[in-house]
């Protein structure tokens, strides 16, 4: 088969099994767009801003486990994509970003729409390629997908100068299926000796806890995690990124840990004698002050990326490998040994945990007048029966969703944790909805966040994406306001979101359904109506209490055991 560079790009995508790509055309990718035009296998979703393309591809990837694919032009197309690339990078999301580049001969001349794309994206991607010869194109595409999806996944950028895709230059095409790279060979299997040591430690534990993270979701290892936790009967807490990998409605689950995690989860971390960290990276939002972190615990850490291990916290038993392989080996060793876990010890551990749980750290003051954000998420959970793909933007609403929506399955909670990118929610929901056309998909957002990628409402219209947007409208950059209230004596510097549009009218102008709800008593019916409108995008402007704060909270410099609790707790549980 003889193909041009542009055709090779498209054919390689087909050979990778890609069905959907998200993109935006421009001069340096026109040859590729022309090749796309002449085929029907790959569906191209035209976004309204390249940031939207990257977040949409990212949402697609998070909800399916398959790599998201983006196609953008050189210069501003590539720079607009950077935020989304960095977002995917920090959360280890597999993505392949194809960027057009000025013709090879013009590189370095400050040509029209030239930027050093590989240079800009290098620090925020897993790897970058600049294609130098059309003969290298097919192999580079294969490498990009291989690198993006294996080991610790991440975004890979392939920068393609325009001359490489010249439709008049055809070369023989064969897709290199059996790629081997001498410089890149991620391990999967964990070291058995280390795993046995870990099992020994777990058997001798009196107060063990599992701290599970995004790696469990990434590796589709939810089943193995559940098996291990049930086999051992020990408590499980999860990071923001790991939510859903262990069912939230299960009694062994203590909820999220960390800055806005549950009191019981953080206290159990603080008191634990053995910590089993699984696909989690000891982020500073999770550990609190490092000096106070798990003072009594021996730490086992399972991670596929050696550089995640002992980066922030020194661990006692590092196990490099994929979550699934390591957990399955662990389970096999435990089952073959036929040993019993120390049940008496565990019973008293669970008693302490139940006492912490009994405090009800998520309690809030309910109101008849104004909608509380916590109540809004609880209502969303009720209306959707827990069966929902929920994307989020960044801010208080994100934390409330993480705390109050009980995810029982992985890949249902889609949010930007590492970079915390406002503007992520709506385009990510587009990717999720494209991947799951028949499933309910909602985006919880804030009035500040939603405006960062609001243009994508047009994409939703064009492609008929019936996303439900749940706007927690508090009129403030709530998360910023909360910090200013707590740490800057209430000097609310530029955190009031003035001059807001009328979101209902705005949505209508894009051709969608807009609704507003202000009374707690109307909320459930409004949400129900939104989800009943199966084929329409509904934007629900939920006017909520502007002063609500996220609790509990570990403030700067504090440890897990020093959480600030909700004022509502002091007045007794009023839920």
């Amino acid at each position: 088969m003889e193909l041009s560079g542009a055709e090779i790009v498209v054919q390689a995508l087909k050979d990778e099994g890609v069905e959907i790509i998200f993109g935006y055309p421009g001069g340096s990718v026109l040859h590729i767009y022309d090749a796309l035009f002449q085929q029907d296998d790959i569906h191209h979703v035209l976004v309204r801003h390249e940031q939207g393309a990257t977040h949409a591809a990212d949402g697609y990837a998070r909800s399916t486990g398959k790599p998201g694919v983006v196609l953008v032009t050189s210069g501003p197309g590539a720079t607009n994509a950077i935020t989304g690339i960095a977002t995917a990078h920090l959360d280890s999301i597999p993505m392949v970003v194809l960027t057009g580049q000025v013709p090879s001969a013009l590189i370095g001349t400050d040509a029209f729409q030239e930027v050093d794309t590989t240079g800009i994206s290098r620090p925020c991607s897993k790897h970058t390629f600049l294609v130098k010869r059309v003969e290298d194109l097919a192999e580079t595409m294969r490498k990009a997908f291989y690198i993006a999806t294996t080991g610790r996944p991440g975004p890979v950028v392939v920068d393609i100068p325009k001359d490489i895709t010249d439709p008049t230059v055809k070369i023989p095409y064969e897709y290199p299926r059996n790629l081997k790279m001498r410089s890149y060979s991620p391990v999967k299997k964990g070291h058995l000796g280390q795993i046995k040591k870990a099992v020994e430690l777990i058997y001798n534990a009196k107060r063990p806890i599992i701290y599970s993270g995004g790696g469990v979701v990434i590796d589709n290892a939810s089943g193995s995690l559940i098996d291990l936790a049930r086999e051992l009967g020990i408590p499980v807490t999860s990071t923001l990124m790991g939510l859903g990998a262990y069912p939230a409605s299960d009694s062994q689950f203590l909820g999220m840990l960390g800055m806005h995690g549950n009191y019981e989860a953080n206290m159990a971390m603080h008191e634990a004698d053995v910590l089993i960290a699984i696909g989690a990276r000891f982020d500073d939002r999770v550990t609190g002050h490092i000096a106070h972190f798990c003072p009594q615990a021996k730490i086992i850490h399972i991670d596929i990326d050696p550089s995640s291990i002992s980066k922030n916290v020194r661990v006692d038993i590092p196990i490099v490998g994929s979550v699934k392989d390591v957990l399955n080996d662990m389970l096999r060793i435990i089952r073959e040994s036929g040993r019993e876990i120390d049940n008496d010890g565990l019973t008293s551990w669970w008693e302490r945990i139940e006492a912490w749980r009994g405090l009800g750290c998520l309690c809030y003051e309910q109101s008849d007048e104004v909608i509380k954000p916590q109540f809004a998420i609880e209502t969303l959970y009720k209306v959707t029966g827990g069966d929902l793909y929920l994307t989020s933007d960044v801010g208080q609403h994100q934390m409330f969703a993480a705390q109050f929506y009980k995810f029982d399955k992985p890949r249902r909670w889609i949010n930007s944790g590492g970079l915390g990118t406002m503007g992520f929610g709506l385009p990510a929901a587009m990717g999720v909805q494209m991947a799951h056309p028949d499933k309910p998909v909602a985006c919880v957002t804030g009035e500040a966040s939603i405006l960062m990628c609001i243009q994508e409402l047009a994409t939703c219209k064009q492609h008929g994406l019936p996303i439900k947007i749940m706007l927690m409208n508090n009129g403030y950059m709530g998360m910023v306001r909360q910090w200013q209230e707590m740490f800057y004596e209430g000097r609310y510097s530029h955190s009031y979101v003035d001059a807001l549009p009328d979101f209902v009218e705005l949505t209508k102008s894009f051709g969608h359904v807009g609704m507003r709800v202000t009374k707690p008593s109307d909320l459930e019916a409004a949400m129900q109506e939104a989800f009943d409108r199966k084929d329409e995008l509904v934007f629900l402007d939920i006017v909520i209490d502007p002063t609500e704060n996220v609790y509990p909270m570990i403030k700067a410099g504090k440890g897990h055991h020093e959480m600030a609790m909700s004022p509502a707790l002091k007045q007794g549980d009023q839920r």
Partner: protein
């Protein structure tokens, strides 16, 4: 804090060198010298990198370097017996009685004078970092015109080697 010499093999490809140097700046790692050239296998480059840091940071440096897609293999030379060498070209003012004095100093340090003009020499010298430092220091400061150093490159002693 300890001085480490990292020797690494990487793909001889565009961008590989930038990946390494960008890593050091992005993660705030200190880098004292870096020396790189293709090997006998033209698809591979060999780099020698000197850094002074704590053990924890050094662990991260090696892990992060290994994580780079272009890096094939690396070793910490300073961990075992090794030889390190650096080459220096130094241009010095050499006039009147100093002409003889500098020539004598160069000989003591086993340097070679490779360029001579009426009032200057260029001396070529190899050795470890300390030796080159010492030579620069014995030349009176106002006689040093220009110093060019390659940075350290090194190799393990004995049969131990860094090859594919």
């Amino acid at each position: 804090m300890k001085r480490h010499i990292i020797s690494l093999l990487m793909e001889n490809e565009a961008g590989a060198l930038s990946n390494v140097s960008a890593l050091f700046s992005a993660r705030g790692f200190n880098i004292e010298s870096l020396c790189v050239a293709p090997t006998d296998d033209p698809s591979l480059s060999r780099m020698t990198l000197v850094t002074t840091c704590s053990e924890t940071v050094f662990e991260q440096i090696t892990k992060q370097l290994n994580k780079l897609i272009d890096v094939v293999k690396l070793m910490d030379l300073s961990e075992g017996d090794h030889i390190e060498r650096e080459m220096m070209l130094i241009k010095v003012r050499a006039e009147k009685e100093m002409r003889e004095e500098i020539k004598r100093l160069a000989e003591i340090f086993r340097g070679k004078i490779i360029d001579v003009s009426d009032n200057s020499y260029v001396i070529e010298m190899t050795g470890d970092t300390d030796k080159l430092d010492a030579f620069v220091h014995v030349i009176p400061e106002d006689h040093v015109i220009e110093v060019v150093r390659t940075g350290v490159s090194g190799i393990a002693r004995g049969v131990k080697s860094l090859t594919l």
